[in-house]
């Protein structure tokens, strides 16, 4: 990835992160869009898996700083998701929007699963409800938002497959 491509990626990821902290509270949906996951995946596929894990850790710590009760859970989840996305980048950036959407959905759902299990945010029926109702819904809207973002930003972003 050249410098221009890196700058573009950083800009797009910054925009998505800003959206996460501006648009998401404004919408305040029960199943909200996770722009940070989209930013993580967009960045991770342009990095080596190790670097993607570090990138995920950084984003996770940013998230955790605002959710002290489960501090570290988002860092762990994003590290794993970032590493996995970078490792699966060839699949992720196949020229198929539906496939991209599916991987966005999967990434968000895995992230929520890790955060719920490690962060001890819910118990019993509540955890099941969160995992099988709200997390899939949130993953779905995140996937839709991610697909739209990928479609809009495709001309701007240079894709480099491994």
């Amino acid at each position: 990835m050249n410098w221009t491509g890196a700058a573009r990626t950083i800009l797009v990821c910054a925009i998505l992160i800003v959206l996460h902290y501006t648009l998401r509270p404004l919408l305040a949906w029960r199943a909200s869009i996770d722009f940070i996951i989209v930013a993580l995946l967009l960045g991770a596929v342009r990095l080596r898996p190790g670097a993607a894990a570090v990138y995920g850790l950084a984003l996770g710590l940013v998230s955790d700083s605002l959710a002290v009760s489960s501090f570290g859970a988002a860092a762990l989840g994003m590290s794993i998701v970032g590493f996995g996305a970078s490792w699966l980048k060839a699949v992720f950036f196949a020229d198929n929007l539906a496939l991209n959407g599916f991987f966005l959905f999967l990434a968000k759902w895995v992230f929520d699963l890790i955060v719920l299990l490690v962060g001890h945010r819910a118990h019993g029926a509540e955890i099941a409800m969160q995992l099988f109702v709200w997390s899939p819904l949130s993953a779905a809207v995140t996937a839709v938002a991610g697909v739209i973002a990928l479609s809009l930003l495709k001309p701007l972003m240079e894709v480099r497959t491994a």
Binding site: A28, V54, L57, D64, G72, A73, A75, L76, F83
Partner: protein, 393 residues
């Protein structure tokens, strides 16, 4: 090449392991110490790290999030306020409608109290919406079971609404004055100018401007705009004195001997919700002057004037009779005195003449001092000379 790839894979795996370890360390960091009631006694390392992040790297994002949440709160508060405003305005609208309905019911109750008997109250159900064209019929929630008959007049507090076309047992259909078949014999407030009211052919001004025409008014009668028109009672369908409307202007027609006027109805059909249906007995016996205050005043004035005239006439007749009686008694007294002076027996003293008696009987005692005085004087005149003159011979 393979060695480089392998080493980079190892580096990636090492980085992942490092990240996972850091994450677990973060998870394992002790939180704030709390008392039994949940109060924070001291800030733990977890809060310290998170706080440091919030104050430095994440600070701009925290600011953005706070701004968004404020926007969201303002938006929600605005929505709540809008809901409150909407519900208040809705309530105000309902209140207005209720007030209008209440006014109508009060008026109708007042009308019912004045009518006293011979009517059936009914609710008017509109078969067409007010904006859906010309309203010509109304469905009324009273039928033949309640005493409603065909051609019974339908009235509201403001005046004439229409007449019953069909009376079913539980409900009836009324045609309004807007119906092409509607006719009513009408008169002006003075009770001297008559005409026939027809529905106006063209709607004027749109909306509720249902207008009527007063046709067949004699040319010599000139009705001014604003003059109130009432039913005349001719024809027997409507009793006399129900307000129909008021004159707007004269319409130019080809008629030479009659005038036609445009009349604004007193009742707006689209706003009629409650009506009274007059029974046939009430139509026959009349409604009195319930609607027409002007008719009331006019007819009362006329009646007073007529009564005054008859009293004056009666007084004049009585005066003439009294004068006649006085003349009669004077004449009789003169004849008697002449006869006595001649030695002839006097005529029997007759009481007052028949005219005088009639007058006394007809008029009350206090109202007829003249004739009595005259008759007594006449008697005195007839007696006194006799008593004074008797000892002389």
């Amino acid at each position: 090449m393979a060695t480089a790839a392998r080493s980079s894979s190892r580096a990636d795996a090492a980085l992942l392991v490092g990240c996972v370890v850091v994450s677990f360390i973060a998870i394992a960091l002790p939180g704030a110490e709390r008392t039994a009631d949940g109060a924070v006694t001291s800030e733990g390392p977890r809060e310290a790290v998170a706080g440091a992040l919030r104050r430095t790297i994440v600070a701009p994002l925290v600011g953005l999030q706070r701004g968004s949440e404020r926007w969201r709160s303002a938006w929600t508060a605005g929505e709540r306020q809008q809901l409150v405003i909407d519900s208040l305005s809705m309530r105000a609208t309902r209140l207005q409608a209720l007030q209008v309905e209440n006014d109508q019911l009060r008026k109708l109750m007042g009308l019912g109290t004045r009518l006293e008997w011979g009517f059936v109250p009914a609710e008017a159900l509109h078969s067409t919406t007010p904006n859906d064209g010309l309203v010509t019929t109304l469905t009324l929630t009273a039928g033949s079971t309640a005493g409603v008959a065909r051609y019974s007049p339908v009235v509201a507090a403001d005046g004439l609404v229409g007449t019953i076309r069909n009376a079913d047992p539980t409900m009836s259909i009324a045609i309004l004055y807007t119906d092409p078949d509607f006719r009513a014999s009408a008169m002006a407030a003075d009770g001297n100018s008559f005409g026939i009211v027809y529905p106006h052919a063209a709607r004027v001004g749109g909306g509720d401007s249902y207008m009527l025409e007063l046709r067949g008014v004699p040319t010599r009668v000139n009705l001014k705009p604003g003059s109130v028109i009432y039913t005349s009672g001719l024809g027997g369908t409507f009793p006399r004195g129900i307000t129909i409307g008021s004159i707007v202007q004269e319409l130019k027609t080809a008629e030479v001997w009659t005038r036609t006027y445009l009349v604004r109805p007193a009742v707006s059909p689209s706003r009629v919700t409650f009506v009274l249906i007059l029974s046939p007995q009430r139509v026959t016996q009349g409604t009195g002057n319930i609607w027409g205050a002007t008719v009331n005043a006019d007819s009362a004035t006329k009646r007073i004037a007529a009564a005054g005239d008859s009293l004056a006439k009666q007084a004049a007749v009585l005066q003439a009779q009294a004068r006649q009686a006085a003349l009669d008694s004077m004449k009789r007294a003169t004849i008697d005195s002449v006869r006595r002076s001649l030695g002839a027996p006097p005529l029997s003293i007759a009481p007052t003449d028949s005219a005088g008696r009639g007058a006394q009987r007809a008029a009350p005692a206090s109202a007829q001092p003249g004739p009595r005085r005259d008759s007594t004087r006449a008697r005195r005149d007839t007696l006194r000379p006799d008593t004074t003159r008797k000892p002389r011979p």
